[in-house]
């Protein structure tokens, strides 16, 4: 019998969705190991968070009141101390930007293996089997490891935990070495701004790496004009400086839910899909029939965007 310790994620006073998903993942794993599911709730309004997180399947919630926002040193110190105290078999964390800012450090400090961005997990005795992707989602792999481990889970892969729990909520007295804290968060800033809010658009003409060159964007703008639609993009277009940051759809950009989303030359990396999968109708234009975008598209054209897009624009001009 071995326990699971799952760490929750929050920002600016709100718990993030993955905090409820990690309860589901953690419960599954704890059922496999025959142990308890412990949650760690670190910084921010921890009592308020603990109340919300007290859902079915949680056995214990450990709160650590220390500062308002995330600090990786506080998280690293707290989680290593919780590991020493509770001796769980697995430490689960979100594979979020903050998760990736402390999980590898916790693993290294505890001399445990770390397996990141998992999309499925099971345990059998001392063996953990983790499913993850490689090569930008082109393949899935299963990976096995023995003994204790730190594991990060991808968001939106497990359902959120529901119901009301009766977990014991306890303040954990973490011994934080303030001298070891070498980074300070000075604030947050929303990016982009500007003239257009793509999250409000009814129709998005969205462009990705397949457009190849900045000059070719004219094709996309022409189509958007003809359809009276708004132009958005995947990450590489914004990275190249071809469109401003407020046009980026995805995990690190905006979440959009238009009536129609036309994905042009977008392969559909998981980070992009996280931002647009709520669209009513998704159309993909891409030469690669195996591109991940095809898994969530309602309609697809497996052809060259340089042929299809002008032909489409012509119809509406």
């Amino acid at each position: 019998m071995s326990d699971v310790l799952a760490v929750t994620d929050h920002r600016r006073g709100d718990l993030r969705d993955v905090s409820y998903e990690i309860i589901t993942a953690g419960r599954q794993l704890a059922d496999d190991t025959g142990g308890d599911l412990h949650l760690a709730v670190i910084s921010g309004p921890v009592d308020n968070f603990a109340e919300k997180l007290n859902r079915e399947g949680v056995d214990a919630i450990h709160t650590v009141s220390h500062g308002e926002e995330f600090n990786h040193d506080v998280y690293t110190q707290t989680i290593t101390q919780l590991y020493d105290e509770l001796a769980p078999q697995y430490i689960l964390t979100p594979n979020s930007v903050n998760g990736l800012d402390y999980a590898p450090a916790v693993a290294n400090e505890l001399d445990l293996p770390v397996v990141t961005d998992t999309i499925d997990l099971s345990a059998n005795g001392e063996t953990l089997t983790a499913t993850r992707e490689m090569y930008g989602g082109k393949v899935e792999t299963t990976n096995e490891l023995e003994g204790d481990a730190v594991v990060t889970i991808r968001g939106a892969e497990w359902p959120t935990a529901e119901g009301t729990g009766d977990a014991a909520v306890e303040a954990f007295d973490a011994d934080i070495d303030e001298d070891a804290i070498g980074s300070t968060v000075n604030g947050f800033e929303e990016v982009g701004g500007g003239d257009v809010d793509i999250s409000e658009a009814d129709v998005l003409v969205s462009v990705g790496r397949g457009i190849e060159e900045e000059d070719n964007l004219e094709l996309i703008h022409d189509l958007a004009d003809a359809l009276d639609a708004t132009v958005s993009s995947s990450r590489p277009i914004v990275d190249n400086g071809w469109l401003p940051k407020n046009r980026q759809v995805g995990q690190s950009g905006k979440v959009v839910t238009p009536d129609v989303y036309i994905a042009i030359g977008i392969s559909g990396a998981v980070q992009h899909v996280a931002g647009m999968k709520g669209s009513d109708t998704i159309v993909a234009i891409n030469t690669d029939p195996n591109a991940p975008i095809m898994d969530i598209a309602d309609y697809a054209i497996h052809d060259d965007l340089f042929d299809v897009v002008p032909a489409l624009t012509d119809q509406f001009q």
Binding site: H72, T76, V97, L100, D101, Y102, P104, A105, V114, T116, D117, R132, E133, M134, Y135, G136, K138, V139, E140, T141, T142, E144, E146, G147, G182, S183, N186, G187, F188, E189, E190, V191, L227, D228, P236, N240, Q248, Q251, S252, K254, V255, D259, T281, V283, D288, P289, N290, M294, A297, Y299, A300, I301, D303, D307, V308, V309, A311, L312, D314, F316
Partner: protein, 263 residues
């Protein structure tokens, strides 16, 4: 200031491929400089051009074949390179985070940089963990997923922005020495100039074995065993339009009119 940049040659995969055991069959694989590391190299070179850095050194774990990729980084402006390889690394199909951390930390100890820049992740195995694990191992401060770095350092502090989810950036000060994992979009990586490519041929590329670095061969024993690789099953019920571009565009046009998008 001395900057060490980790540079990885990653495997790239063609659109159509076959899997051979737990690997993609060789004939469908290419090789390239890891995209995230390209941005890390550019950031280091820009710091050098701004007069902040005195020396930019790259480190790569990889066989002789990847020297072409290392020369790319040198052609873009890095001063010299270290490549780590020996027989014990040959045939390892998954070098996990702990192994990379142990090898790279030995190089950091030798080089003693003020700043280590790594890509956020590698395009092939996508662990996204080595930079932070390395920082913890060597007792450096760190920041993950950095998409802006102020080039004017305030004493021993680096001011960065970390790219959080949902279009929010975190403004953070990090004490040096530090390791930062660099996100794409932080800068515009340059193309190597012809002059740069010529100069790169003459730059020092030092090859070290694990023994040279004082790393025990057991460091490459991975805790993680890759047991299966397969193409993800599509759960899609996508309607695929076939035909010429005019025909498929007409189908899409009809759908858009049905949806009331444009008349």
């Amino acid at each position: 200031m001395k900057i060490l940049v980790t540079v990885k040659e990653v495997a790239t995969v063609e659109d159509e491929f076959e899997i051979d055991g737990t690997e993609i069959a060789d004939q469908y694989l290419g090789a390239d400089l890891n995209e995230w590391d390209d941005y890390a190299v550019e950031e280091a070179v820009q710091l050098q051009e701004a007069g902040v850095a005195d020396e930019v050194v790259t480190v790569t774990i990889g066989p002789e074949d990847c020297e072409q990729t290392i020369r790319q980084a040198l052609a873009k402006g890095a001063d010299r390179a270290v490549r780590v390889w020996d027989d014990s690394l040959e045939g390892v199909d998954l070098l996990d985070v702990n192994a990379k951390t142990e090898i790279l930390s030995a190089v950091v100890e030798e080089e003693d940089p003020d700043l280590v820049l790594t890509g956020v992740q590698a395009g092939d195995d996508s662990f996204g963990a080595t930079g932070v694990a390395l920082a913890e191992e060597i007792g450096y401060q760190w920041g993950a997923v950095v998409n802006h770095l102020e080039h004017e350092f305030d004493g021993d502090t680096a001011s960065v922005r970390r790219e959080l989810e949902g279009g929010v950036e975190e403004l953070t000060d990090i004490e040096l020495p530090a390791a930062l994992t660099i996100q794409t979009g932080i800068n515009e990586p340059r193309y190597a100039s012809l002059r740069g490519i010529r100069q790169a041929q003459r730059k020092e590329l030092d090859v070290k074995s694990l023994a040279d670095l004082g790393v025990d061969e057991s460091a490459v024993d991975s805790d993680l065993e890759l047991t299966d690789m397969y193409e993800p099953e599509s759960e899609s019920d996508v309607t695929v339009w076939e035909g010429s571009a005019d025909e498929t565009a007409a189908e899409l046009g009809e759908l858009l009119r049905d949806k009331g998008v444009a008349q």
